[in-house]
């Protein structure tokens, strides 16, 4: 696809691109994918914590989008909102399917790498994993709102549209979620290596 084509499509909304795609434009599909794929993938990754699963879910979600293009109505939800819900549901399905296999993977103990940089990277990873675990332990709506706000950096207005809530309700959900997270992680500070950081 030419650069000029990309530039002209750049100005179009997601909805307009999807309608263009349903009329046979592959360029519109490319522009939509370029625009939405990173967000969709990040959403799936934050939820699934696994690259391969996140890629599968991203591909599935886009396939659903292409298939729904013919019947797409402009007055229905925004493409990004629709896609968010599709990804959310696909992730939940996949987590259910993966539950047993991930339990087995958790039992595999990685050999310790003695290098300081590797140790640091592992410590960072364990912190992030602790954060993800704490988010997963939150009530569903709090977890969803918090993930969107702080991991995917969506605005409160956008979150309100996706979750079909008022902006105030979103703020309240995020705020409660953060309080719970802080309380949970506060107790794990030493285990997560914060003391080590202050020493280094």
């Amino acid at each position: 696809m030419s650069k000029d084509n990309f530039q002209s499509l750049d100005a179009l909304t997601d909805d307009a691109l999807l309608i263009l795609f349903s009329n046979g434009s592959q360029s519109a599909a490319q522009e939509l994918t370029r625009r939405l794929m990173p967000r969709v993938f990040a959403q799936a990754y934050h939820k699934l914590r696994n690259r391969s699963d996140a890629e599968d879910v991203t591909q599935e979600a886009f396939m659903k989008l292409w298939r729904s293009a013919k019947e797409w109505k402009q007055d229905q939800a925004k493409v990004s909102t629709w896609l968010y819900r599709v990804v959310e549901n696909a992730c939940i399905d996949r987590m259910r399917r993966n539950r047993s296999s991930s339990a087995i993977e958790d039992m595999v103990i990685e050999p310790a790498d003695p290098r300081p940089s590797a140790r640091q990277a592992l410590q960072n990873q364990s912190r992030v994993n602790a954060l993800y675990d704490a988010i997963d332990a939150l009530p569903d709506r709090q977890a969803t709102a918090l993930r969107m706000r702080h991991l995917e950096e969506k605005s409160n207005i956008e979150i309100a549209q996706i979750m079909d809530l008022s902006v105030d309700a979103v703020e309240s959900l995020v705020s409660r979620a953060k309080r719970t997270l802080t309380a949970q992680l506060q107790g794990q500070k030493t285990a997560l290596g914060y003391q080590d950081d202050s020493v280094q």
Partner: protein
């Protein structure tokens, strides 16, 4: 990671940032695969419309052309009514009801015709 828990508050924002940075970039192969899927969806309607559509047999077409069941039922009813009227009029033409006696006698309405013809 930034160590900013000076007031004994857990620095969530720093941890969120760490999680955001940790997300790998989706690779080019995924992009290509998604575009390939899009193309396959675009190709689907063409393959469906290219299938030859078989025309219905002539008797089905005729059935539809004449109007189907409603027409046939109407025609049958009209036929039965026609036969009934035909039979009834034949009977009426040979019956005279006598109001005084309540008796029914058969008479020929053209009985005087032969005489009239003789007089001519």
């Amino acid at each position: 990671m930034t160590q900013s828990n000076k007031n004994d508050d857990f620095d969530l924002d720093a941890l969120f940032q760490e999680a955001r940075i940790g997300v790998p970039r989706p690779n080019r192969a995924l992009f290509d695969q998604i575009i390939e899927d899009a193309q396959s969806v675009l190709d689907e309607p063409l393959s469906e419309t290219s299938k030859p559509v078989s025309s219905p047999p002539w008797w089905q077409q005729l059935w539809v052309d004449i109007g189907g069941w409603p027409t046939v039922t109407g025609l049958a009813t009209a036929g039965i009514v026609g036969v009934w009227i035909g039979m009834s009029s034949d009977l009426l033409s040979t019956q005279t009801i006598a109001p005084d006696t309540n008796t029914v006698e058969l008479s020929d309405p053209f009985s005087g015709l032969d005489l009239a013809m003789l007089e001519g």
